[in-house]
Structures are given as structure tokens and as C-alpha cells.
């Protein structure tokens, strides 16, 4: 534990007075909270519009009702995870652009300590965002539904730690691209290409029993699409629970990517 703290301290000094980091974090956090709190309005609006034209009545979706709110909000928050990925890419590629990784290694940081610092930061960021989503969901739920402790602390609360795992795995993939490519611009482009297009093509082309183990695909199975009444009305029923296989796949990716990054730093001139 002491080792982790001493590896995290330099990381804290690096971001503490880094304006770019805090501005981007602020924008991201504000957007996230704003999005989560305006969902009901957006959805009600669109279902009202649809109702005007549809012959079939579409019910208003109770978005913030416990315990569904835990899943609804973590699912939506997942769409914004590209922003913390940018933050992590910037923080890692900075070390190469400013050549400060080299300076830290010759000053006596071991590659292990350096990695503990960076992965620790990724972990803390994932947990903080998941907590922010959790607090938002809690508040939104309290405002719009009757507080019922059995409903609030239902098993669906586990979507908050699962969201942290989603972010952690996703950010580790982004970090791997950053360590591999070293430059911010090219890393962002390559990461977007891979996560948005390339992996989908791969999943499509590969047999399903292999494709489902690809990282972005596995991350997508952590929080299933909320099974709202509207979906049920259309006769679609999604799996309501997190796939345990996806959880294990994500943990496996975290370990694999950590080892890959470690090997990359060990085998390469700084």
C-alpha cells in the first residue's frame, strides 16, 4: 500500500496544477451530470412526439425509478467514456512528448513504479466517475420516486461497480494505445478507429465464440441495454444482468494489457 501511495504522489503533483486536465475533467463531469439529469425530459419529449403520430400508445418511461435508475444511468454514462479516455491518452503521451518518462527513469523510478502510478490513476479516475454516476442516480431517484430502501439498495446497485470496471477496462485499452504510439494525435485517431470501427468489423467477421472476447465488445456486455417497458411492448426482451463472462473477460484484458505495456516499456529505448 505504501508503495502504491508513493507511486501515486508524483502523479498527483503532475495533474494538481495541470490546467488542461482540470478544464477537460470539469467539462466532462458537467456534461455527464447534465446528461443524466435531463434524460427524463429528452425521453418524455420524444415519446410525446411519437405518441402524436403513433396509433399505438407509447408509455412514458419511468427513467429514474429505483432500482432501474442504477442500470439506466450507468448504461447512458457509458456513452461518454471516450472523454476520460482522451484524458488518459493526454496524460500518458505527455510523458513521451516532454520526455519526462526518460527523466524519471534515469532519476530512479522503476518501470513497475511508473506503471503503478499510471494504472493507479486510471483506477482512481474510473472509481470517481462511477461514484459520480452513482451519486447522480441516487439524487435523481430520490427526487422522482418514492424513497423505498428495499428498492434503492437492490441488487441492481451492483451496476455502479460494474460501471467502474467498464471504465477501467476501456481506459486500459486507451492507455495501451498511448504507450504503443507515444503521440497524442495519432493515439486518439488510432483508438477511435479501433474502438468504433475496426473491432466491430472484427467481431462481425470472426466467429462469435472468439469475437465476444475482444475488449470493446466485452465491455459492451457489462451493462446490458435497460429493459424498458417500451422495449417490452415491442416484444424485445434483453438480458437484464451483467454477463459474468464479460466481467472475467474484462479482468483478463486488464491483466493482459498491463503485461503488454510493461513489456513494451522494458523492451524499448525510452
Amino acid at each position: 500500500m505504501k508503495k502504491i501511495l508513493s507511486a501515486l504522489h508524483p502523479e498527483w503533483i503532475k495533474i494538481q496544477k495541470y490546467r488542461t486536465f482540470w478544464i477537460l475533467t470539469g467539462i466532462y463531469a458537467a456534461t455527464l451530470v447534465l446528461l443524466l439529469f435531463s434524460l427524463q425530459e429528452i425521453l418524455s419529449n420524444s415519446s410525446a412526439n411519437v405518441n402524436n403520430k403513433s396509433s399505438m400508445p407509447i408509455p412514458t418511461i419511468p427513467f429514474y425509478v429505483f432500482p432501474g435508475v442504477w442500470q439506466n444511468l450507468t448504461y447512458i454514462a457509458g456513452y461518454l467514456k471516450i472523454f476520460p479516455a482522451f484524458l488518459i491518452i493526454i496524460l500518458i503521451t505527455n510523458e513521451f512528448t516532454f520526455k519526462t518518462l526518460k527523466q524519471q527513469i534515469i532519476s530512479g523510478t522503476s518501470i513497475t513504479e511508473f506503471l503503478i502510478g499510471k494504472i493507479g490513476l486510471i483506477f482512481l479516475l474510473s472509481v470517481s466517475v462511477a461514484m459520480l454516476v452513482g451519486i447522480s442516480a441516487f439524487i435523481a431517484g430520490l427526487i422522482q420516486s418514492k424513497p423505498d430502501f428495499n428498492q434503492i439498495f437492490s441488487t441492481k446497485l451492483y451496476f455502479i461497480p460494474v460501471h467502474a470496471l467498464e471504465l477501467f477496462t476501456y481506459l486500459m485499452v486507451a492507455a495501451s494505445f498511448a504507450f504503443l504510439l507515444k503521440r497524442a494525435g495519432i493515439t486518439v485517431i488510432a483508438f477511435l478507429l479501433y474502438s468504433l470501427i475496426l473491432e466491430r468489423i472484427l467481431v462481425f467477421k470472426l466467429p462469435w465464440h472468439i469475437g465476444k472476447f475482444l475488449p470493446i465488445e466485452a465491455i459492451g456486455h457489462l451493462i446490458p441495454v435497460p429493459n424498458t417497458q417500451i422495449m417490452q411492448r415491442f416484444g424485445v426482451s434483453f438480458n437484464e444482468n451483467t454477463s459474468m463472462q464479460a466481467v472475467f473477460t474484462c479482468f483478463a484484458w486488464i491483466i493482459i494489457l498491463t503485461l503488454v505495456i510493461y513489456g513494451l516499456l522494458k523492451k524499448r529505448d525510452l
Binding site: 527523466q103 534515469i106 523510478t109
Partner: protein
């Protein structure tokens, strides 16, 4: 026996077809101020990068304090390598705090090294606002954090003005007098001659020479003698016990002796033979002319 701080054995590293370091062996002992000399691209920075763990060698071995490289041994070494590398958006103090944290040094030590390098008044300014000379000073300051046993300085006076160069030279001499071992890579020979006790000369990744600076320079000493009777003088000189060789240049005999040259003894010897000098002076080549001779440059004969 002297304690070896750094032993390098048969180190090699190529970048594609270019051999940056080729079969280099060196030993640096405790307390030495060791100059690593060579023109640009001779492999100085690559060598230092390897021994500091920033560059991987292709073959060969090296040991710090008798052991292979570890982050523990690196904490005993303060180093600047190539350009100063810091976070541009952080102040000098914050940049040094990061290094202090890594090296397990008290954060208060940052003020001491900032004072020593003359940056204390600008310590709260962002690194990106610094001039190149100030960035270089900050690099030197970070290397000195926690008073390391060994200082590795790669071109430390790069980008400094003459006043700054003199200050850094005094600083190096001061640190050396406190017993630290210093490795100084430079292409500025005058610099090395002024501060170093030992020197190794590199060219195209190979070691041309290494040894004690005093010895190098005393081997190049020439005694310039003139007298009214040049023929008699020449005859006497050839019979001088430590005679090695001589040349005559513009009526002045240039004498080389075995071992260290003693003008007083030569003078005594000549006057015993009733030869009185009209000119007697000791000329010592600079490291620069010696270096140019070694590296085979044509301007080798020009000595200051």
C-alpha cells in the same frame, strides 16, 4: 585499492547501420572527475543513456557500484541526459518535487539546489517560460537533488552564456571537492581540461584513449630553448640524460624529454656547460590540440 563506481565492458549499440557505440570499455573510480570527450555523434550520449537505463545496449555489460543497474543504484546517481526534460506547465519547484519524490529526498532540498543554480527567484514560474540556459540550470539542479554520490552531466554548459559556463564550472569543481564522482560529457575540450582529472576520448563510438589528464598533457610538453650558439646548444641537448627528440624551428630548439620535463634542470645542465639561454620556456599542448591529433584532424599542429 580504488573503489570502482562504474565499469563498462565491451558495450555496443547500433542504430540501423550506424554504430553509435562499439566495443567500449571504461572504468570510472570513486572521486574522479571523468571527462567523456568526443565530437558530436561520437557516442557520448548513447553511452550515458545506456548506463542510465534509458537506452538498451545490444551487447556488453556494465556495473554500477559493482552491481547491475537497478532503480536503487540510479537513486545514488544524479544525471542530466541530452536536453532538459520537464513538464512545461509546472513551476521549477513542482518539477523538482516530482524528482525529489522519486529519489526519496526531502522536498525542502529543492530550495537548496535552486539557490545553487541561481533559479531560486524564478522558482514559481512555469518551466515553459524559461530560457534555454535556465532550463539547463534546472536540469543541473535536479541532478543535484539529495547530493548524489555520482553526477552524470551530458553537455552541462550547453546553451549557457559565458558567465553561466564559469558558474557551472565552479559548481562542478566545488561538488568534486566534496568527494562526489563526476562524469562530464562534452565536446568543449577547454571545459574538460579545466575541471577533469581523467578523460576518455571517443570517436565514432570507439575509445581512442583514456587516462589521467595531467599525464596526457605532460606527455605533450615541449621545452623551447634558444641560445646564441645554436650548434653548440643542439650538441649539448642531444647529450641531455632525459633526451627524447628535438626539432629546430626558427632558431629555437624544441626539446622533448622522457617523462616530466624540468626546465630548471635543463637550465642547470646547460649553464654547467657554459651555455646560457636567451630563451627558455615550457610549452604544454592543450587538450584540444592533443584531441585533434588523436582524432586525426588536419589542424592538429595548431597549438595555443
Amino acid at each position: 585499492m580504488e573503489e570502482n563506481v562504474l565499469e563498462i565492458e565491451n558495450l555496443s549499440k547500433s542504430y540501423g547501420k550506424v554504430k553509435a557505440v562499439s566495443g567500449l570499455s571504461l572504468t570510472i573510480s570513486k572521486g574522479q572527475v571523468f571527462g567523456l570527450l568526443g565530437p558530436n555523434g561520437s557516442g557520448k550520449t548513447t553511452t550515458l543513456g545506456i548506463v542510465l537505463g534509458a537506452t538498451l545496449p545490444q551487447s556488453g555489460d556494465f556495473r554500477w557500484f559493482g552491481k547491475s543497474l537497478s532503480s536503487k543504484s540510479l537513486k545514488r546517481i544524479g544525471a542530466i541526459l541530452e536536453h532538459p526534460n520537464f513538464y512545461p506547465y509546472l513551476s521549477a519547484t513542482d518539477n523538482l518535487r516530482i524528482i525529489a519524490q522519486i529519489r526519496n529526498v526531502q522536498e525542502s532540498d529543492t530550495d537548496r539546489v535552486l539557490r545553487m543554480t541561481g533559479l531560486f527567484d524564478r522558482r514559481k514560474h512555469h518551466f515553459q517560460t524559461y530560457s534555454f540556459g535556465m532550463k539547463q540550470r534546472l536540469a543541473i539542479a535536479s541532478a543535484m537533488l539529495g547530493n548524489p554520490e555520482v553526477l552524470i552531466l551530458d553537455e552541462p554548459t550547453n546553451g549557457l552564456d559565458p558567465g553561466g559556463i564559469a558558474e557551472i564550472r565552479d559548481l562542478i569543481t566545488h561538488i568534486a571537492s566534496e568527494g562526489a564522482t563526476i562524469v562530464l560529457a562534452s565536446h568543449l575540450l577547454d571545459e574538460v581540461q579545466k575541471v577533469c582529472s581523467h578523460v576518455a576520448v571517443l570517436q565514432r563510438g570507439e575509445k581512442l584513449f583514456s587516462g589521467n589528464v595531467e599525464e596526457v598533457l605532460s606527455n605533450t610538453e615541449t621545452l623551447l630553448i634558444a641560445s646564441d650558439d645554436l650548434i653548440k646548444l643542439e650538441q649539448a641537448i642531444i647529450n641531455y640524460p632525459d633526451y627524447l627528440s628535438h626539432t629546430i624551428n626558427n632558431g629555437i630548439i624544441e626539446l622533448k624529454t622522457n617523462g616530466v620535463c624540468h626546465p630548471d634542470q635543463v637550465n642547470q645542465y646547460l649553464s654547467n656547460q657554459d651555455i646560457f639561454c636567451s630563451h627558455l620556456s615550457l610549452r604544454r599542448k592543450t587538450l584540444e590540440s592533443y584531441f585533434l591529433e588523436l582524432t586525426g584532424s588536419k589542424s592538429a599542429s595548431s597549438s595555443k
